[in-house]
Amino acid sequence: MSEATLLEARNLRKSFLTAAGVFAGASRGAPRQAAVDGVNLDLAPGETLAIVGESGSGKTTLARLLLRLIEPDAGEIRFGGRDLLAARGAELRRLRREMQMVFQDPFASLNPRLCVEAMVGEPLEIHEPALSRATRRERVGAILETVGLGADAMPRYPHEFSGGQRQRIGIARALVLRPRLVVADEPVSALDVSVGAQILELLQNLQREFSLTYLLISHSLPVVAQLATRIAVMRAGKFVEVGVAEHVLAQPAHPYTRALLAAVPEVPA
């Protein structure tokens, strides 16, 4: 484990029961489908690694494994040098506050019954319970300002905001704890083009401002091309190609990467 690695995964595996297996009961030997099939990954601080793949490639399962939202069948994960899979209790909570997630659907991922102040303040309440109400309020106001929403957003509810504004609320909630790693799962695919561009620009600015490391999960190579420093192309649970973004986009080595690139409809230059 080198000092320069923030997140490291070795030989990560996760399989799920197939539909037939579910109905057959979870006995041994029931048919299983490998969603993540032996993935190795290193993430250096400050970089943006994009995991690109089509539906069913296992990219979202991989993201959930790396955050330990689900447990792998096998493999190792180290975060900041600590064994993430062995962490329990207070140590796990400490590690978790350093890794946050931005979700795809800003309409589904925000609690409609919480006002923005309560929603963005919730992670603080959990991880920094000693904070006074006033300090918490201040921190929430500051992070809302940073993501381009005024403090006047605080008493309002999700339904009062547009899709782009909701995504900003989701980003504020992820960043209020000042994490080191942000996992963004399709952060702009539910948004219109002009709004998506605003969010991509915001993510770029926040990365510089807070020295963030990004793991970007996306099916869209054009979106990935804007943000990624490295690209991992995933298919059927495996990385088929990993490399520096410019190389993967300009000189794809794997036939599947070439097929993906060739299928992207481009605007005539």
């Binding site: 089509e54 547009s162 899709g163 709004v195 561009a197 991509l200 481009e266 005539p268």
Partner: protein
């Protein structure tokens, strides 16, 4: 060639608590046989409402004005029908038989508890001319054969097997092919495709776009292709119309419009669209205006980097910027249209 569809100043109004709003506002365009018109715009620009108006599927309480002339095959002596003036019974006869439609989400558009073949057969049976009279109605065997042909036409592999399967047993791409088979089952002249590939993976999207291009060529279909994706529209369309806040703000040959956009909104969309070539994206400032609070002049004026005082005075007319290329912007230096008649 005479247009299949000639839409003239079509306006749709919907009642809201704050009064009537116009999701489709003074829209005019033509669609020729074998031609694909791409309709591009962001959420709420009216592109879907426009397609629903053409199908007579507007929500209850909606008001329509303007005309949409369809060169219907069974229009009688008149030769064409104004689809926005038709009653419910006439619309039922029109849907599917003259205009077919394919939607974004094949999983929600298909009935999950009916086999694919049954659903395609249903589409065929619904459009049989006056079945029950005349005694020449095709039997179940004949309809089954036609359903298989329809699936084959949409390039569904192993149509016999797929016809016996349920929607959840098909991949997203196959489900969309089945939808296309149903939409074309009664040989319509016009196909409206509303974001037909948005829910699909790129490699599958490519196959569906190729299928639509082939069907359009072979059947001489007029295709109205609705999308938010400028790359997709560049691939499928001959002509492009860009909608903003209910109006067409720019229209013209697709490559010409994308290479030399003349409306600041089209230019903004292009600069904000991620491409494989990495470059600095330039988001469009601000947000789309609400339909119940449109600015008095150009709807894009509050967000426009080139705005002038006079932009807020009145809604600009579509001006001819180049041959067959119009933009609704006062900054367009109008060219004098060549008189050919």
């Amino acid at each position: 060639m005479a247009p299949l569809l000639d839409v003239c100043q079509l306006t749709v109004e919907l009642p809201t608590p704050s009064g009537w709003v116009r999701p489709v506002n003074d829209v005019s365009f033509q669609l020729a046989p074998g031609e694909t018109l791409g309709l591009v715009g962001e959420s709420g620009c009216g592109k879907t409402m426009l397609s629903l108006a053409l199908m007579g599927l507007l929500p209850p309480g909606a008001r329509r004005a303007g005309e949409a002339w369809l060169a219907a095959r069974n229009a009688g002596g008149a030769g064409r029908l104004n689809v926005v003036a038709l009653g419910d019974r006439e619309l039922v006869a029109l849907r599917g038989r003259e205009i077919g439609m394919v939607f974004q989400e094949p999983m929600t558009a298909l009935n999950p508890v009916l086999r694919i073949g049954v659903q395609v057969e249903e589409a065929i049976r619904a459009h049989l001319p006056h079945s029950g009279r005349g005694g020449s109605a095709p039997g179940p065997g004949e309809i089954g054969r036609r359903a298989l042909q329809a699936l084959e036409r949409a390039a569904v592999p192993e149509p016999q097997l797929r016809a016996r399967q349920f929607p959840h047993q098909l991949s997203g791409g196959l489900r969309q092919r089945a939808m296309i088979a149903m939409a074309l089952a009664a040989d319509p002249q016009i196909l409206i495709a509303d974001e037909p590939t948005t829910a699909l993976d790129v490699t599958v999207q490519k196959q569906i776009l190729e299928l639509l291009a082939r069907l359009r060529r072979e059947l001489g279909l007029g295709l109205l292709f609705i999308t938010h994706d400028l790359g997709v529209v560049a691939q499928v369309a001959d002509r492009l119309a860009v909608m903003y806040a209910g109006r067409i703000v720019e229209e013209g040959p697709v490559v010409e419009v994308l290479r030399r956009p003349r409306h600041p909104y089209t230019e903004g969309l292009l600069r904000a669209s991620p491409q494989l070539r990495r470059r600095k994206l330039e988001p469009i400032a601000g947000v789309v205006p609400r339909l119940d609070a449109l600015p008095p002049g150009c709807a894009f004026e509050p967000r426009c980097p080139y705005r002038r005082a006079e932009c807020a005075a009145a809604v600009p007319e579509l001006r001819l910027a180049a041959p067959e290329h119009r933009a609704r912007c006062i900054l367009v230096e109008p060219v004098v249209e060549e008189v050919t008649r």
